[in-house]
Symmetry: C2
Subunit: 340 residues, 2 copies
């Protein structure tokens, strides 16, 4: 009984992406709504820069959606900083009822999932989902201060400096405007992830630690909905990076699902592997958020994609838990998004 796929009818009707300099210089750089080449966003600390990115992202999304904060019934937000201060300080000025989340890098999917459920069941008319990560605040909190100049492991991923904001509202069949050629991105199904113990204790290989969570969620979804990878144009994971993506594809094959031809990962898309020195690819809450907002949702609306699975994975660990000998736990939440 527990843990079934939940049906939703929620349109992601506006979104915005804010990113840093390295992201601007990547393959998707021109698609982001706002970039600051120096990553500071006018702030004196990296933590405040991250908050400012969230504020900017939600502000731009509200402007695009022609919505005022008073119209938004619930705001779901989270980030990687201790006590999720990136979200709280960045967003409190909007005055929107606030649900703080912690799902590590799965937060983009987690927040969109809850927002979609809420508007689908008419608990409120509009809901927002916002998340972020910042390379500089993440490095000094999770690994070492930048000034230390530590050498990165080959599997280490590069935390994306970016924030994404999404606005969702209930969607009813009769509103479909496909005939007019303008498609809408509608969240049709959601599946909440289960926390998995990966057995991995290497903080420099999060992709490997998170792949089993993506495996669990994907297999549960395929089994319950009786679909296969071929049903979808794209199966998009959040930030498994190069290492984790390869592991997920192998693990899926062992379960009888070949996702190679339809799988991609936001952590593989956001940087250029050859010219940008990011080792294992991109990561962080902001990675999937900005790629989904800037690249994927527009493709759905334009008709270049018609039915996708989006699942963001999060490593539920802390630097202290690893020092105390724990393995990395991970979770992956899934949304099926379809053009209607």
């Amino acid at each position: 009984m527990g843990g079934n796929v939940m049906k939703t009818r929620a349109e992601i009707f506006a979104s915005a992406s804010v990113a840093g300099g390295k992201e601007f210089n990547g393959p998707l750089g021109k698609l982001f709504d706002f970039c600051d080449p120096c990553d500071r966003f006018g702030m004196k600390t990296w933590e405040k820069s991250e908050s400012e990115m969230q504020r900017l992202a939600l502000n731009i999304a509200l402007a695009k959606g022609e919505i005022t904060p008073e119209d938004v019934g619930a705001l779901f937000a989270g980030d990687l900083l201790n006590q999720c201060v990136g979200s709280a300080y960045g967003l409190h000025g909007f005055g929107i009822p606030y649900i703080g989340l912690y799902g590590a890098c799965s937060t983009c999917a987690e927040s969109l999932l809850l927002a979609s459920l809420m508007v689908s069941h008419k608990m409120c008319n509009l809901a927002a989902a916002v998340t972020s990560s910042h390379y500089c605040s993440a490095e000094r909190q999770y690994r070492t201060p930048l000034e230390y100049g530590a050498q990165r492991a080959p599997t280490a991923q590069w935390t994306v400096t970016g924030a994404g904001a999404f606005l969702v509202r209930g969607f009813h069949q009769e509103e479909s405007t496909l005939s007019s050629g303008k498609g809408k991105a509608v969240v049709r199904n959601c599946l909440i992830g289960r926390v998995q113990d990966s057995g991995v204790a290497d903080a420099a290989n999060m992709g490997a630690a998170m792949a089993p969570a993506a495996l669990d969620t994907l297999c549960r979804f395929f089994k319950e909905t009786q679909t296969t990878p071929e049903t979808y144009d794209l199966i998009l994971t959040g930030d498994l990076g190069y290492e984790g993506s390869d592991i997920l594809r192998s693990l899926m094959k062992a379960e009888g699902y070949d996702i190679d031809s339809v799988h991609n990962d936001c952590g593989r898309m956001i940087y250029d592997r050859e010219s940008q020195d990011v080792h294992g690819g991109g990561s962080g809450c902001g990675c999937s958020a900005v790629v989904l907002s800037a690249d994927i949702l527009p493709k759905i609306k334009r008709g270049e994609l018609s039915r996708i699975l989006f699942l963001a994975t999060g490593a539920m660990m802390s630097p202290d838990s690893l020092k105390q000998g724990e393995k990395v736990l991970a979770v992956a939440h899934l949304l099926e998004i379809e053009r209607e």
Copy 2:
């Protein structure tokens, strides 16, 4: 439009409380389901002790409710530790679909609110809400390691060592068993809090920082539902403590609501002010969770309370954000719980 009271029909049908030695020696000590006088719960680190409390609490709640983990569709959980590892490591073994939350000390209300919404709208049959705090893990993370022997400010609160777990399911009118004399605790209404900037920067006076958030939520609730404090047997805040409770009562009077005769605070109830040296009273996610589970819900079921407001307040700050000159932000989520 935004931020309305949300109607729910959710029965809290089982709950459990796990607490430490100081809590066992307090006025409610005999009511807790399980206590460890040494606060260790068999673990070698305080962080693992906190995880173990969450595991025990959910385990006991499942046993009381005669439910297996497979029957639970969604688990909402969070705690005060960096990256909320108390919840992730404590609960991953149950294999229940997991939504990680961060609402600081408001997490008990936040998790119950989301769980109640979910079962009320039949997104799943059963949902669980679990939260915790631990004096020893909180002190070394937020303030100073215990070994340092720092002197506490008069307004400083004592983080409760405790975990509470709640199981909720949809409740339909026809099921009412009041005629049989056995009441049920039903969540009838919920209101999501808005993040407030308290203007307080003193990390040793969280009660003062959180009172404005409780004020905002309570006033919004009274206005929208057109009720007054007299409508309720009890208005129970989570962990404002002595200082914060006095401030809330004064602030409410200024808004035209006299709550003095019906207000109490879990942080005032859990320790004996005279014999236990806790200065400002109890605090922490676990404070409201164990008091609600062990004291309040049984009183509702027995008929000693028939209609209450429960609102837990959380300070959305981090030690780093205060060092960077930010004020303490706070949020308060509200549930109306009625005997049916």
